[in-house]
């Protein structure tokens, strides 16, 4: 396999041909804000729209998860235009996220907090109006709870659950603003089909899926699902 050399934020990096910029950056300890990226999934979700970067010679920012690294490419993850777009996307998410960090199990390990810090985004939006969905919390599983209100629809839990083809439980339902992660026909998440493997909990960046007894030593695994 051929490799390519590129520079990200001034750091020289070599990556396998065909690698996406996001992966090349994360594997070299350069953080780019992301919620929906999954290391082992070939096709990017490209759903969260936070990993915008600037590429020298290109006018518009691009999402790092969809663009392949090429030889000689010069990437800037701190460009103002890219960060501005990422901040808007982030603020849109936060405008529909019930922000109550002090009483949230994710406090301190929450990916949203990390992103806010990294891109200078706001946890409490001033720019947009708060549009909450006020969906019921599912408490039926013995191991974890599911609070759809905190969900940012990154799709990591759906993907990891779907790796168990026979027993997969999670999926998306509804369109637009009403889109939600749910089970078939909306049956309780503690239903018999769930193997209680709790893989979905470990990959949730916001603790919309959270262990009932706290973290249990299984910290958030980030994009390495």
């Amino acid at each position: 396999m051929k490799s390519v050399s590129l520079s990200i934020d001034g750091k020289k990096i070599t990556a396998k041909e065909g690698t996406k910029i996001l992966r090349a950056a994360l594997e070299n300890d350069i953080y780019i804000a992301n919620l929906c990226a999954i290391k082992d999934k070939a096709e990017p979700n490209a759903a969260c729209r936070l990993c915008f970067v600037e590429i020298e010679g290109e006018e518009e920012p691009v999402t790092a998860c969809t663009r392949e690294a090429t030889d000689g490419m010069v990437v800037n993850t701190r460009g103002e235009r890219a960060l501005e777009l990422a901040r808007t996307g982030f603020e849109l998410l936060m405008a529909s996220h019930p922000v109550d960090c002090a009483n949230c199990p994710a406090n301190g390990v929450c990916e949203l907090q990390k992103i806010a810090k990294h891109i200078g985004g706001k946890l409490k939006t001033k720019r947009f109006r708060q549009l909450l969905r006020e969906l019921p919390i599912d408490d039926s599983n013995p191991l974890f709870t599911y609070d759809p209100n905190k969900c940012v629809l990154c799709g990591r839990c759906v993907w990891v659950c779907r790796q168990r083809k026979e027993t997969a439980l999670l999926g998306f339902a509804h369109r637009g603003f009403k889109r939600v992660v749910t089970t078939f026909a909306g049956e309780p998440i503690g239903a018999e089909r769930c193997l209680d493997c709790s893989a979905c909990v470990e990959v949730c960046p916001t603790r919309a899926l959270a262990f009932k007894g706290g973290e249990k030593g299984l910290g958030y695994r980030g994009w390495v699902v």
């Binding site: 979700n45 759903a47 729209r49 915008f52 969809t66 637009g176 889109r179």
Partner: protein
């Protein structure tokens, strides 16, 4: 292809063509023929009753007079339309036909000698008896290429299509090399009619040059824009032209299968396309060994279930694969990794319908019509506040003014033009000064709108531009699949702001922040739906910003459309004492007569339904709308 195979193809097609031509001649031989337009536009106006009347009368009198169903002639404003062709007369088109008129036409024209000029829309040929379509001002601008057969042949009869030259392009194509066909389409300058205007030949070439089998052709008939009905009409009126285009596309790109992705909400298009596919298969124009050659190609009709986003190519592929119809990031292009991961060409209905005439007449022929960068014609569905609603086909480069005022005969009721909405929810609203813009892919994009699939909605002085923007945003917001952040949440936020504006709420700064968010949703969204959803906002802000400001600063809707910002008022000078029409019409008993018998509206009770305005006799015209509501004089 070997010489022997070429000869076999030529022979096979000759046989089919001769039989079709003899059947066609037989149909017209020495007898009258009645053609009833029964596309959806005709049916909505009662064409099936008219058809039944003709059939009953013909049967009752035992006449040798075929009554056939045809598609849409484009004059949808005058539906139901009927063409009667009688020896000794030119074929004559009648409009607004109902069963009573149908009976008269049969008695007086088919059986008698009176062509009933009072019902005539126009004759199809110049003559000395009745006015013909060529005398219409619109004839000067219209040029029909892909709508040529629409309304003049029976879409369920493959022979009609073949007798008119149909499938000869396929026979010719099979004698050419695939590379030559791709070249021909490239040279013709044909650009994708789905809206974006990507060169069709280039797309075919990408697919052809990509390894991976089987390859697919998808015909995108998931037309979902409010006010657009071009693709539906073509599939209902001339499905074989699309099928022939697809088969040629299949041969040129090396594809084995084709899918026609059509909305299930188009039942007649589904039915007629399915009939056409079955016939093409029977005639060996489709399936294995097409026309005796070594080329195999099959087409499957796939019904989409009404998700607007499935018009996006990657979402469409997901939908056909049985997955939820959500888009994915591109690249990889569809021509590299498309349906089932294989190289796929997705072309719009109209793009494919252009292919047979290009192959028949050569690339230069299409190039000679239209503009340098956009060759050929553009098909528009005229709708909204326009006299001649319906389908038009004009060369690219025709101005909007010509289309609206000459072809469409302008705005009804002497109202003033306000804007024209082009390209549906992805397009934009253009104002009066833009009317002299030549219509082609690039000039419309520069103006902030886009060709879209071809919906053209004309708006007059009674249409509020803020409400129009809100309407389209509501549509895209509802149709957003919800996968990506900007489209799912950005459109929702924008809709909330617009809702406030139409209620006269919001702050003046909100206009700027709305514009900023619109630009960011455009830049940040994953697929075409989100990237174009802000266009109605951006264009109305660009051209009609003062209307937004009036809503917010003065609580006034200049078009008197936003209900919360208007009040109904009865002008005392004009109100007629002896008339009670408005009192009786009011649904909430808000109108009463005062001591002088002048009617007065109780603004507290009024729900602003507008029935009093409609009920007030035109000779008085006493009911008016006022905005803002504080304009209503106090007692």
């Amino acid at each position: 292809m070997k010489a022997a195979e070429r000869a076999a193809v030529a022979d096979a097609f000759k046989e089919i063509k001769e039989r079709a031509e003899s059947r066609w001649r037989e149909l017209w031989h020495n007898k009258p023929v009645i053609m009833v337009g029964t596309a959806t536009c005709g049916r909505a106006a009662g064409a099936l009753e008219v058809l039944q009347t003709f059939r009953d009368e013909v049967k009752k009198r035992n006449l040798d007079c075929p009554v056939i169903e045809v598609g849409c002639m484009g004059h949808c404003y005058a539906e139901p339309l009927v063409i009667i062709s009688k020896p000794g007369y030119p074929p004559i088109c009648y409009g607004y036909v109902n069963p009573v008129i149908a009976e008269r036409l049969l008695k007086e024209f088919v059986l008698g000698d009176n062509p009933c000029p009072e019902f005539v829309i126009g004759a199809l040929e110049e003559n000395d008896i009745v006015p013909s379509f060529t005398d219409f001002p619109r004839a000067q601008y219209e040029q029909k290429i892909i709508l040529k057969n629409c309304g003049h042949t029976d879409p369920t009869e493959i022979d009609h299509y073949i007798a008119g030259g149909g499938y000869s392009a396929l026979a010719k194509a099979l004698e050419m090399t695939p590379e030559d066909i791709v070249d021909e389409v490239k040279k013709s300058g044909l650009r994708g009619r789905g809206g974006a205007g990507f060169p069709a030949g280039l797309k075919w070439e990408y697919c052809r040059n990509t390894r991976g089998r089987p390859k697919y052709i998808i015909c995108n008939a998931d037309e979902g824009d409010p006010g657009a009905f071009m693709d539906r009409s073509i599939l209902e009126s001339d499905p074989h032209s699309v099928i022939e285009g697809m088969i040629i596309a299949g041969y040129a790109t090396g594809a084995r299968y084709g899918y026609i992705y059509v909305r299930a909400e188009y039942p007649l298009a589904v039915e007629r396309t399915q009939i056409a596919l079955t016939q093409a298969k029977k005639f060996r124009l489709l399936g294995n060994h097409i026309l005796g050659s070594s080329f195999n190609f099959d087409i499957i009709l796939f019904q989409g279930s009404g998700a607007f986003v499935c018009g996006e190519a990657t979402a469409m592929a997901a939908s056909i694969e049985g997955k939820p119809g959500t888009p994915r990031a591109r690249p990889p292009r569809m021509t590299t990794e498309g349906l089932f991961g294989k190289p796929t060409v997705v072309n719009n209905v109209k793009t494919l319908a252009f292919v047979p005439p290009i192959i028949r007449n050569g690339a230069g022929w299409l190039k000679s019509t239209g503009t340098k960068e956009s060759s050929g014609t553009a098909v528009f569905a005229l709708a909204g506040k326009i006299v001649n609603t319906g389908l038009v086909e004009v060369p690219m480069g025709t101005t909007l003014r010509q289309i609206i005022y000459e072809v469409g005969s302008g705005i009804p009721g002497g109202k003033r033009f306000r804007a024209v909405q082009i390209g549906g929810p992805s397009g934009g609203c253009l104002p009066e000064p833009a009317l002299d813009l030549p219509v082609d892919f690039d000039s419309l994009r520069d103006a902030g709108a886009m060709m879209g699939s071809g919906g053209m909605v004309v708006l007059d002085e009674d249409d509020c531009m803020v409400e129009i923007a809100r309407y389209f945003l509501e549509f895209t917001q509802r149709e957003s699949c919800g996968k990506c952040t900007f489209c799912r949440l950005g459109t929702k936020q924008m809709l909330e702001v617009l809702n406030d504006f139409t209620l006269g709420q919001g702050k003046i700064e909100d206009i700027d922040s709305l514009e900023r968010l619109a630009e960011e949703v455009k830049a940040g969204s994953l697929c075409g739906l989100g990237q174009t959803a802000p266009n109605p906002i951006l264009t109305t802000l660009r051209y009609f910003r003062e209307e937004y400001e009036e809503h917010i600063l003065m609580g006034r809707c200049p078009a008197l459309m936003c209900r919360q910002l208007i009040a109904y008022y009865i002008l005392p000078d004009k109100c007629e004492r002896s008339c009670d029409a408005c009192v009786g019409s009011c649904t909430v008993e808000a109108i009463s007569a005062n001591k002088k018998r002048i009617k007065v509206i109780d603004q507290e009770k009024c729900v602003k339904c507008g029935t009093c305005l409609a009920a007030c006799p035109p000779q008085y015209n006493a009911v008016v709308k006022l905005s803002p509501p504080s304009e209503v004089p106090k007692k």
